[in-house]
């Protein structure tokens, strides 16, 4: 199978290059059109912030990876690359690479299941552009199955592997229902914003923001539809919150032990989580000694992240086993498309129908006619299948390309309902 793949990803290229190569959906559409017009019959174009990849079956069997590389680089003419920025794959390795990408084991954040959705989206665009044929559809179906199995059968996507997710994981070890809790985010820089969005996604009951630059907090508050407190008075409101996440760029402590003690008294010592994800720290670490106060800083969150990354790495062999199983299954199907097995399946299929009908009606014939019935029906089947058999053999002999041959075999199998090996086995 001449499936070519070219990839620029986090293993081969620096972030600037990956960013520069990132393609918007519109650009993907445009590039697919050009690829179809020039040298690819069918394929897939995947572009995320960490990878840009093109998979394709060339019209001409002489086409190589170099053409694919040149094709991308010509589209993004302002970028300079070197050969080591590219990973190239062919045939089984291309399919295997796509499976690895979809399962998340090739991601920068191992087990990141975002990529699974991105592959789906890339396939939808390819399908919309009629860039998907029999082979790519099958490759895609298998890739999606790999992604699903990796999530459900292994722990590759379990546990938080970013600081902001780790904070949420920790908070959820203390409180059971976030919809009944309230949170205050101090500092609305990038980290604070991500934390606020995570909490909102987890269904936090009440969310409030505060920031030294009030307008900045107001802007984010408008996006998230939350309340805003003036920075100089937020300390008076600490007792109203179950969760306080601080991520400012302040030089010193902005929440002291006394502030927290006073707040805890006001809230009758109901549990309070303090997440200090600022460097340098915003909250006095001595607050951890107050009963029912759960203080955590970036170091403790890093412990969780590292543990989860290690656990995910340990799951990689299980995912690789799934990939191998699906690869075998895919190529079993692909090989079944060759002409000899197709001719045999077709003949077996017709002969089964013949034998079934003969058996049903055998009693209507006298014993001396029964042998003749067998002979006549076999002769009819042979005559019906003579021409298709000759034509199928010719396709192979002409050597017009494995993909063309496979496609024709696929159509025949699909027409006669012999395209699923398991169906045939069941019948047998």
């Amino acid at each position: 199978m001449q499936l070519l793949a070219v990839s620029i990803n986090h293993k081969t290229a620096p972030v600037q290059l990956r960013e520069a190569l990132h393609l918007s959906d519109d650009e993907v559409h445009e590039l697919i059109k050009k690829a179809k017009d020039n040298f690819l019959k069918e394929g897939l174009l995947l572009s995320t912030c960490n990878r840009t990849e093109i998979y394709g079956i060339p019209v001409n069997s002489q086409t190589t990876h170099l053409e694919l590389q040149k094709f991308i680089m010509e589209y993004k003419s302002s970028i300079t690359t070197s050969p080591e920025n590219f990973q190239t794959f062919i045939s089984r390795d291309s399919v295997k690479h796509l499976f690895s990408v979809t399962s998340g084991i090739d991601s920068m954040l191992i087990g990141d299941n975002q990529i699974y959705k991105q592959v789906k989206n890339a396939f939808n665009i390819a399908e919309e552009m009629q860039f998907v044929g029999l082979l790519m559809r099958r490759v895609f179906d298998s890739a999606i199955r790999v992604g699903k199995r990796a999530i459900s059968e292994t722990a590759i996507s379990e546990g938080a592997v970013t600081i902001s997710y780790a904070s949420v994981q920790l908070i959820e070890k203390i409180f059971s229902n976030l919809s009944k809790k309230s949170a205050l985010i101090i500092g609305t820089g990038e980290t604070g914003e991500i934390a606020a969005k995570h909490l909102r996604d987890r269904g936090i009951g009440r969310l409030a923001l505060t920031n030294r630059t009030f307008e900045k907090a107001e802007k984010l508050a408008a996006d998230l539809k939350t309340a805003v407190f003036p920075f100089d008075t937020f300390n008076d409101h600490l007792h109203k919150f179950d969760i306080i996440i601080s991520a400012t760029s302040a030089e010193g402590i902005i929440i002291t032990r006394n502030d927290v003690e006073a707040a805890m008294k006001k809230r009758s010592f109901a549990s309070m989580v303090l997440m200090d994800i600022a460097v340098p720290r915003d909250i006095d670490p001595a607050t951890k000694n107050i009963e029912y106060v759960f203080y955590h800083d970036i170091d403790s969150l890093n412990i969780i992240v590292e543990q989860n990354v290690t656990k995910r790495k340990e799951e990689i062999p299980k995912v690789e086993k799934i990939i191998d199983e699906e690869l075998d299954s895919f190529f079993e199907w692909y090989n079944s498309l060759k002409s000899a097995p197709t001719i045999k399946s077709l003949r077996d299929h017709f002969d089964e129908i013949r034998a079934e009908e003969v058996e049903k009606n055998i009693n209507k014939f006298s014993s001396e006619d029964r042998e003749r019935l067998e002979m006549v029906t076999k002769r009819i089947i042979n005559k019906i299948l003579h021409h298709p058999t000759i034509e199928l053999r010719k396709i192979n002999e002409r050597g017009t390309g494995a993909e063309e041959s496979a496609e024709k075999m696929g159509i025949i199998k699909s027409l006669f309902g012999i395209d699923k090996p398991e169906n045939n086995k069941e019948k047998k």
Partner: protein, 274 residues
């Protein structure tokens, strides 16, 4: 029937040990595939245990509550059964090994020392006594489960405070859930013990001429009942929570254990039947 009873008596601790091992292995490994295996083990163990209790009752013509080792086997069953229901209702996993180990210990002691008791005092064949004892045992099962969840709450609380993110952090449910499980188990235990006490207060003076309110078992039980009553009252009306409440539950459980040991093995009264 006796050979079957004797065989099951040996088999039951093995089954509890097996169930505990599966739960413990799952706790250590945390693999999804063990969920059904765990439930199958606990279900089969409970089914066989129920069968054992029933054939004992029929064979010896009295419910298995006439001596402390019969009571231990009922207690092992009721603790595991209560946990099984809790696991099915709440779908909370990861706490099983801490509870099943208690059932295993009770069953092991019972299997080692239980005897075939055909002759029992007439008073022990009374139906009211059966209801009284069953309620008391289920009540104590509730307190046992409450104490286990209380202990797990304290362990997780300490781990969270000390930034320890090991197995306890990864496998146990969150603090609020552990507190709730501990509290509701205690409430259930309290209600059942209250019923047991009411039946006891009505029936005991009629059944025993030597009845006395200063009986050690009555005092011990009253103390346990009072402690849990105070805990539940303060939780509902004084907003006691967290560590204070679970410590109260653990204290109640320890007093219940000591009271049982003292009254059953050390002191003799009208309330001691064996």
């Amino acid at each position: 029937m006796l050979p079957v009873i004797h065989f099951l008596n040996i088999l039951l601790p093995i089954l509890y040990l097996g169930t505990f091992s599966v739960y413990f292995y799952d706790f250590m490994r945390g693999e999804k595939k063990f969920i059904n295996v765990k439930r199958l083990f606990i279900f089969i163990t409970l089914l066989i245990h129920l069968f054992y209790l029933m054939i004992r009752t029929f064979e010896f013509e009295h419910p298995p509550i006439t001596n402390v080792f019969e009571i231990f086997t009922v207690l092992a069953f009721s603790i595991t059964f209560s946990y099984f229901l809790l696991e099915l209702i709440t779908d909370i996993r990861g706490t099983g090994p801490f509870i099943i180990i208690i059932s295993f210990v009770f069953q092991l002691i019972s299997s080692m020392f239980i005897v075939d008791q055909f002759e029992v005092k007439e008073v022990l064949k009374n139906n009211l006594l059966g209801i009284h004892v069953i309620n008391a045992l289920l009540g104590y099962s509730g307190f046992t489960i409450s104490a286990v969840y209380g202990f797990l709450y304290l362990t997780l609380y300490k781990d969270l405070k000390d930034n320890r993110f090991g197995l306890i952090f990864n496998r146990l449910p969150n603090l609020e859930v552990l507190e709730k499980l501990s509290f509701y188990s205690a409430v259930l235990g309290f209600i059942l013990l209250t019923i047991a006490i009411i039946i006891g207060v009505i029936w005991l003076p009629q059944a025993f001429p030597k009845f006395s309110f200063i009986d050690p078992k009555l005092i011990g039980t009253a103390l346990v009942w009072l402690l849990y009553g105070i805990g539940i009252f303060t939780k509902i009306f004084s907003r006691w929570r967290g560590k204070k409440l679970v410590l109260l539950s653990i204290t109640g459980f320890v007093i219940a254990i000591f009271s049982t040991i003292l009254t059953n093995f050390l002191s003799r009264s009208f309330h001691s039947f064996y």
